[in-house]
């Protein structure tokens, strides 16, 4: 019997090795897999490459992982925020590497890994400093930059509901990077508000097919849980 359900966040992340590349979902706090990040901090893997839209806020979640000195490199689109002081300090001290990627190229590079592609030509960043050193090409009169997939060992994702095959539905704008990160990682780990019985999710409304999901763990909701909201 196929079951991707695990009991704890710890169990989901026990095998993350040092040096792993880890995709971390979320845009702002929406879709941020906070409990999985906490479990990763507790687990102890170091020398990580973290791929996420931002580079941590305040002193919790990603920022806490960075603060613990466990991240070698961050690949993101927008590390600079009013409360990104943990990253700022590490970056200014030269203690963390940054690869800055335009948000849409970041999404497409993650998606390309999940689609098994070797690379793609994107118009975004053509003619800008973020294309420096990259291969470019004019196709049909328009300039493009060659970008490569971001393949990852793990993805940490937050979704709304899952079944034991790993089928997922998300909630509102918490969907953001979840579907593409699930596709792109060898092992995709998903924290959900609730596990439902197989067959409870309408086959028409599943957003991430279970084939892209390795492990799911129910950790409760971080949003209003009225019936209307669910």
């Amino acid at each position: 019997m196929l079951s991707k359900v695990r009991s704890t966040a710890q169990e989901c992340l026990a095998d993350v090795p040092d040096g792993a590349t880890v995709l971390v979902g979320g845009f702002g706090m929406a879709g941020m897999p906070s409990e999985l990040i906490d479990a990763l901090i507790a687990q102890g893997a170091k020398d990580l490459t973290i791929v996420s839209n931002n580079a941590g806020n305040g002193t919790v979640g990603l920022a806490a992982l960075l603060k613990a000195g466990r991240v070698r490199k961050v690949i993101c689109s927008f590390p600079r925020q009013t409360d990104s002081f943990v990253f700022d300090e590490l970056f200014r001290a030269g203690r963390i590497e940054l690869e800055l990627v335009p948000q849409g190229n970041l999404a497409e590079r993650i998606r390309a890994a999940g689609a098994g592609l070797g690379g793609f030509f994107t118009p975004t960043s053509y003619g800008t400093p973020l294309a420096d050193g990259k291969e470019t090409r004019v196709i049909d009169g328009r300039g493009y930059v060659l970008d490569y997939p971001i393949k990852a060992d793990y993805a940490l994702i937050k979704a709304h509901l899952a079944d034991r095959w790993g089928n997922l539905v998300y909630r509102k704008t918490a969907r953001n990077f979840g579907p593409i990160m699930a596709m792109a990682a060898k092992t995709s780990v998903v924290q959900v508000d609730r596990i439902v019985e197989l067959g409870e999710l309408d086959p028409e409304v599943v957003v991430t097919p279970g084939i892209f999901v390795s492990r799911v763990v129910a950790l409760g909701a971080a949003h209003p849980t009225t019936e209307a909201a669910a």
């Binding site: 845009f27 948000q103 975004t124 960043s125 909630r171 969907r175 979840g178």
Partner: protein, 215 residues
């Protein structure tokens, strides 16, 4: 002659009035956010939020905030009837394939060819951050820039060539400023409107780019 620059509210209202019925619009973070408050009620304008929402509504009441329903500025938002959610790959596919009618963005500089510089001052030691600016620049059918025409030091932000790091090439189609509104055309920069009391000659005196009217 003396003249009074347009206020930010006046600029925002001018932009809002220029958006057509049925347009799909992405309103950037910062100064452009004011445009949302002036969208005319008699037009149906659909707002795109690049974190994964089409059909965005106004900010919610304080007691109706949902932490999983936010806009690209990470502020709580709402949805209108007809809205839908989607992932980041789909959201940026919309941009890149030219489905957004208008993106409204701030700028450090715009060149006479429509090159845009709005993501980095290039200052050494600054933390670089780009977000979706380059994707919007490359993808939206029209890029409307909203900015003051002059820096605090009185230098024109409309320039022959941008000196700040570029966001995108030849992407800006219109520039709304506190002193004038410009169209960037293949034939050059055309003055679409000026504040009352500012002559074309006087405006030309402020801007190191050849201006014309009615191009």
């Amino acid at each position: 002659m003396t003249y009074v620059p347009w206020t930010r509210e006046e600029i925002a209202k001018t932009i809002a009035d220029d958006i057509w019925d049925g347009a799909i619009v992405n309103i950037g973070i910062g100064m452009p956010e004011m445009v949302a408050g002036f969208l005319p009620a008699d037009k149906e304008i659909i707002l795109h939020s690049e974190n994964g929402l089409l059909g965005m509504g106004p900010a919610p009441a304080a007691d109706a905030v949902d932490p999983e329903l936010i806009n690209a500025g990470k502020q709580p938002t709402t949805v209108l009837p007809g809205a839908c959610f989607f992932d980041h790959a789909t959201s940026f596919a919309m941009m890149r394939s030219g489905r957004l009618d208008i993106a409204i963005m701030g700028a450090f500089q715009v060149s006479e060819h429509g090159d845009l510089a709005n993501w980095s001052t290039g200052k050494p030691g600054a933390i670089p951050a780009v977000g979706g600016a380059m994707d919007l620049a490359a993808g939206a059918r029209q890029v409307f820039v909203m900015m003051d025409l002059l820096t605090k030091k009185g230098e024109s932000k409309l320039v022959p060539e941008c000196t700040y790091p570029l966001t995108g090439l030849a992407c800006v189609t219109r520039i709304y400023t506190d002193l004038a509104v410009f169209d960037v055309t293949p034939k050059g920069v055309s003055v679409r409107a000026r504040v009352e009391g500012l002559s074309l000659d006087a405006l030309q005196g402020l801007v190191p780019v050849r201006l014309a009217e009615g191009i």
